[in-house]
Symmetry: C2
Subunit: 328 residues, 2 copies
DNA sequence: CCGAAATCTGGGAGCGCTCCCAGAACGGGA
DNA sequence: TCCCGTTCTGGGAGCGCTCCCAGATTTCGG
């Protein structure tokens, strides 16, 4: 190929990587030859010497059922692919379903197959973040990792403020008995949302006691939890669910109990899932977060890290907004 | 590392790749040293000489909205990851959202970054399969590709037989006016399901005229189509929807028209989505297909191809079953 | 018009591995 | 005991690229 262009391998390499000190004439010749020959450089040979792979791992550490069910992860995968390929980086997707997957994953990540990783590992007891600390591989977390707190790069949403906003909105319509259905509490986001609900009630001088019920982010748990809440506190007039799916379940329970949404009970969800929240009946008021924005931040941070910039390890907190529809 | 184990690089290499002609003593020494040193071979150097990357691309050629919405794709991604990593192959996920993505994708695939590809490209006009024919890269399709018919490896479901089974089931409960809501008809699966519906009606001497309405696989289109059908044929007593989501939409329309499921109108879906079909009210009778089985077949075929076996290019058709619940 | 600085080019080394080949060690039958 | 086939080992070449360095060429101020 260098021969075909009539230059040395060195010059060809420089032209292809647009280095400094290449005459425009040589560059043109090389690029022309490459086009004519349909030449594309051998990635393996290149990585061998540059010690860069041009690939980044996206690690989803959640049980299978969750990943398949939650459209958030579909958005994450797709968004990560788009953002990464826009910067010329290949995405390597990895799933970690159970503790047994951890060693294999670690081995792969330290095997020099990737330049860095974007990790979603929200559970408290997840061994992955701890294991990852020992590697010297640039890692950016999506959402505050459950197990490791400080000294890591993370991009999270302001779950607590979002929950506060939701509850304040319910309060602003005159409701005073506001319950919550939480997510799994070993999940920092769930804990933060619970805290935000509590913040707003206390701020208003109200007593949160007995008005919280644990769910697991999925619809069925929302229905179950809401049924329990209605039994325990028949006078409740509002509910904040830590996910849209649970809000949907809660609505079913409310109707089953012969109450109306929003007339008798106001309902607010979290996530503002585009395929779910607006399609509900009535359309769901929900705390809106933008996963694409999160991904963008994560990619940007990782790219700085890969470029060798010293970025102070920190958690970036992205703002959320309240999308008001008819359910509250 | 070879030095540490006290053997030559050749012997170390042989031990690590468990080649023939290595004494068990040498092998033990090498493996022991590797463990002690936390050594893992440099993938780039290895690919450089073997001309194998140990990676396979999974290409999803569908518009973004579809990929994010359809749990089938989540299952595909996750299943493909599991099956591939079980055979020691890395998965590279690629999305092709629009025609503009095609050249970039082709360039990547022919750039020698992967050993083969598993492609999901169901649309009739999709330019990707045609472009892929020119590459000499082993490709296995998931579902019959829309544009290229023969001479390719594909693993499809028996959509036509599945639809036939569904309609026969409706017929067996005494229903005689059975409508269908189709998927996008540029999608071979949708066309096959429509054909199967027609097969069963004709087989029973019934006239399908006016009882079919086009949808797009999503819930909203099911509702819309069903409303139209009920208006056009108020006497209908059964409906076969080409997806579970459309079946859900159809149920809403049926209720909105003051009819009951299954008493007045029997409903059957397709896909038997685990998170949707059993959770519906009433639980949905649906044609069951197993995406994991499809993936397994695809991976197996691709592996044979990579091993250099000559596999006759052909479409494997996987059987489907009918899961009977309460909606019909 | 000269010399030094800036710009450009090609040769050579080497990244870490696998594969080929020649030769050493081993084993068993004549 | 010797010979031949089998099993095992190490050395060397080379995969295709980038990077370093030395030398060639151009540019430009004095």
């Amino acid at each position: 190929m260098a021969a075909y262009a009539g230059v040395s391998r060195s010059t060809a390499s420089r032209a292809l990587n647009d280095d400094a000190y290449v005459s425009s004439r040589a560059k043109e010749k090389v690029l022309g030859a490459a086009r004519e020959l349909g030449y594309s450089p051998n990635q393996a040979a290149r990585s061998l010497v540059t010690r860069r792979t041009g690939a980044v791992a996206v690690v989803l550490s959640e049980p299978e059922s969750k990943v398949l069910d939650d459209p958030y992860f579909a958005t994450v995968m797709h968004g990560a692919y788009r953002e990464l390929s826009a910067t010329g980086v290949q995405m390597l997707l990895m799933f970690v379903d159970s503790r047994e997957d951890v060693p294999r994953t670690i081995r792969f990540l330290e095997g020099g197959h990737v330049d860095g990783a974007m990790v979603f590992a929200p559970h408290q007891g997840d061994p992955l973040p701890t294991a990852l600390r020992l590697l010297r591989l640039p890692v950016v977390y999506g959402g505050r990792p459950g197990s490791v707190r400080r000294g890591v790069h993370a991009v999270d949403f302001d779950n607590r403020a979002g929950a506060r906003m939701a509850v304040r909105h319910l309060l602003s319509t005159g409701r005073r008995r506001i319950a919550t259905v939480t997510g799994m509490l070993d999940h920092p986001a769930a804990a933060d949302r619970l805290a935000g609900w509590q913040d707003a009630l206390i701020e208003f001088g109200l007593d949160p006691a007995g008005l919280s019920e644990a769910g697991d982010f999925l619809m069925a748990s929302g229905e179950r939890a809401m049924t329990a809440l209605l039994e325990r506190a028949p006078d409740l007039d509002g509910v904040f669910a830590a996910s849209d799916a649970m809000a949907a379940g809660a609505m079913r329970a409310i109707r089953a109990a012969g109450r109306r949404v929003p007339d008798d009970v106001g309902v607010i969800g979290f996530d503002d899932q585009p395929t779910l929240a607006p399609a509900m009946n009535p359309p769901l008021t929900s705390v809106h977060q933008d996963p694409r924005e999160q991904i963008r931040h994560m990619v940007r941070t990782l790219m700085s890290l890969l470029a060798g910039d010293t970025v102070r390890p920190d958690t970036t907190v992205l703002p959320v907004t309240l999308t008001v529809r008819d359910s509250a």
